[in-house]
């Protein structure tokens, strides 16, 4: 008896083939990966300190050269640039004055400069072979068709914080953290009314309430990104940017919870090739979570059908002999 039980357990474990979590496959960044980020590697460190002197913390010193008077003043939260985040961001190697006019070296900053337009992503990245893999042009097209593009004053920079944005999903080694990072981008406005209000006049919408129809909301928001449901699938770019009107957002559970889960075309796009890894349908998902309906164990499913069929056969034979006896 013990041997039989042990045998069953061992076979089951062998079927599962999972011995524990392992990390998602790493996408290597073809360029730049070997370049070490960080303040100590920036050639503009000293230059930037002239700005960070005021913009790195929640106060600055207001000085008057003529009278020699000086006083501490509050720096508005939105004007604070985190030094550490800055030197880890994509654009860490820049001087502040690469993007902002030289005139900002003077204080008070000239109003004319403050009203100047900023560069757009495409000004630097558009039609550049070096960034072809990102498909900037197509992203811009998608963005222009998205709901946000209609909003006055909205731009790529509103989601890609110029001083902290860092590519994530492409180089992710911890998907849960990437999901958190990406969702926080949206929650920067949709979870923070004071930011939201800068761009819209509508009353506060609590996203927790507007997603109440979704069970296990905590698990879902930690397991998928907002854009999984709010964008249309695009095959050629990694991160879909076409945010649809809310009426067209995904609400049908089986879009994700089924064998042809859209997660394979969104969140797990890059790893999707490894389908059926370890016998799991949509196997890559198992690294990070288990999506009922989408992640099925192929072997276990076959085994269950075989066992059930075998049982039915045995019972039928039994019935046959019972009838024969009568």
């Amino acid at each position: 008896m013990k041997v039989i039980i042990l045998g069953i357990v061992v076979t089951l474990l062998a079927f599962l083939g999972i011995t524990g979590p392992d990390t998602a496959p790493v996408m290597q960044d073809p360029e730049g990966a070997e370049m070490l980020k960080g303040a100590e590697n920036s050639i503009y460190y000293e230059d930037n300190e002239t700005c960070f002197k005021c913009h790195a913390q929640d106060f600055y010193t207001l000085e008057d050269a003529e009278s020699g008077l000086s006083q501490k003043r509050v720096m508005c939260q939105n004007y604070i640039v985190d030094r550490d985040e800055y030197y880890q961001s994509n654009h860490w190697s820049f001087a502040c004055t690469d993007c902002h006019s030289w005139e900002f070296s003077n204080f008070p900053h000239p109003t004319a400069e403050r009203l100047q337009d900023h560069f757009s992503c495409l000004d630097c990245h558009g039609y550049d072979e070096a960034y072809a893999q990102y498909h900037f042009e197509e992203i811009e097209e998608e963005y222009n068709a998205s709901t946000h593009a209609e909003i006055e004053g909205f731009s790529c920079w509103d989601c890609h914080n110029p001083h902290s944005y860092e590519i994530n999903i492409r180089t992710s080694t911890n998907l849960k953290e990437t999901i958190l990072y990406d969702n926080n981008i949206c929650l920067e406005c949709h979870g923070n009314y004071s930011n939201f209000r800068l761009l819209s006049d509508i009353d506060e919408v609590d996203v927790v309430v507007s997603h109440e129809w979704l069970p296990n909301q905590v698990a879902h928001f930690a397991g998928v990104r907002c854009i999984e449901c709010h964008t249309s699938i695009n095959d050629s770019i990694l991160v879909a940017h076409h945010i649809l009107p809310k009426e067209q957002a995904v609400r049908n559970c089986t879009e994700c919870h089924s064998s042809d889960s859209r997660l394979m075309a969104t969140l797990y796009k890059f790893e999707a090739k490894e389908q059926r890894k370890r016998g799991f349908l949509n196997g890559v998902i198992v690294n990070n979570s288990y999506v009922i309906g989408a992640t099925r164990n192929y072997f276990l499913n076959v085994a269950s059908v075989v066992i059930f069929a075998g049982l039915m056969l045995v019972l039928m034979i039994h019935v046959f002999f019972r009838i024969k006896k009568k």
Binding site: C253, T254, H257, Y290, I292, G293, L300
Partner: protein, 207 residues
């Protein structure tokens, strides 16, 4: 020589009825989720309603399970489940041989039912395994899936969820197999309907 005596008190019968109904709901909804498809082509529950029904049924089942365990302790019904080590293997073999061979030869039932012995050894073992191993594992893993943030995260790490889900589904399947066999063996009374009748009116009957 007809035998007729009261064997299944009301509380067992009501628990059993509820248990059976819930179990069937859980299996159907569980399968609907496991084999969910975009067009709901396999089972008649949509994913959304399957989740809702499965959760509700699971909570009631947990309550009814607690009721069953307490009932067994309080009323002493638990004594029927006690397995005595001595010669248990031999007894199991004897019962199995009877089911597989002896009964076709018209042999006597090796462990006839009485007020002192409700279950034959095979029943005993399968009931104990199902009720005191299978069902607890199923319930605990189910709660782990319902509240992954408190349970799974702490004990297993990242993909503990996958592990728990597979355990839950596998155990559900095993208990489903138990149920099929259980229902089938319940047709092995005097007449195929006899044992079902006794689970309804409480009286065991033999001729």
């Amino acid at each position: 020589m007809a035998k007729r005596f009261y064997l299944y008190p009301v509380w067992i019968r009501s628990w059993h009825l509820i248990n059976a109904i819930l179990f069937i709901i859980l299996i159907l909804t569980g399968l609907s989720m496991h084999y969910a498809s975009m067009d709901n082509r396999y089972f008649f529950f949509t994913f959304e309603s399957a989740v809702a029904w499965h959760n509700v049924a699971a909570f009631i089942l947990t309550a009814s399970y607690v009721f069953y365990v307490l009932g067994n302790i309080v009323t002493g019904n638990g004594k029927y489940y006690r397995i005595k080590r001595k010669k248990f293997m031999q007894k199991l073999v004897k019962q199995s041989v009877y089911y597989g061979y002896g009964m076709f030869k018209g042999e006597e039932h090796p462990f006839p039912v009485s007020e002192r012995r409700k279950f034959n050894p095979l029943q005993k073992l399968s009931y104990v395994l199902a009720m005191y191993v299978g069902l607890p594992v199923l319930i605990i893993s189910g709660f782990g899936l319902l509240f992954p943030e408190i349970l799974v995260g702490q004990f297993f790490g990242i993909s503990g969820l996958a592990y728990t889900s597979v355990l839950h589904a596998t155990m559900g399947f095993i208990l489903f197999i138990f149920m099929v066999i259980h229902i089938y063996t319940c047709t092995l009374g005097d007449k195929p309907s006899t044992l079902f009748k006794s689970m309804i009116d409480g009286y065991h009957e033999e001729h």
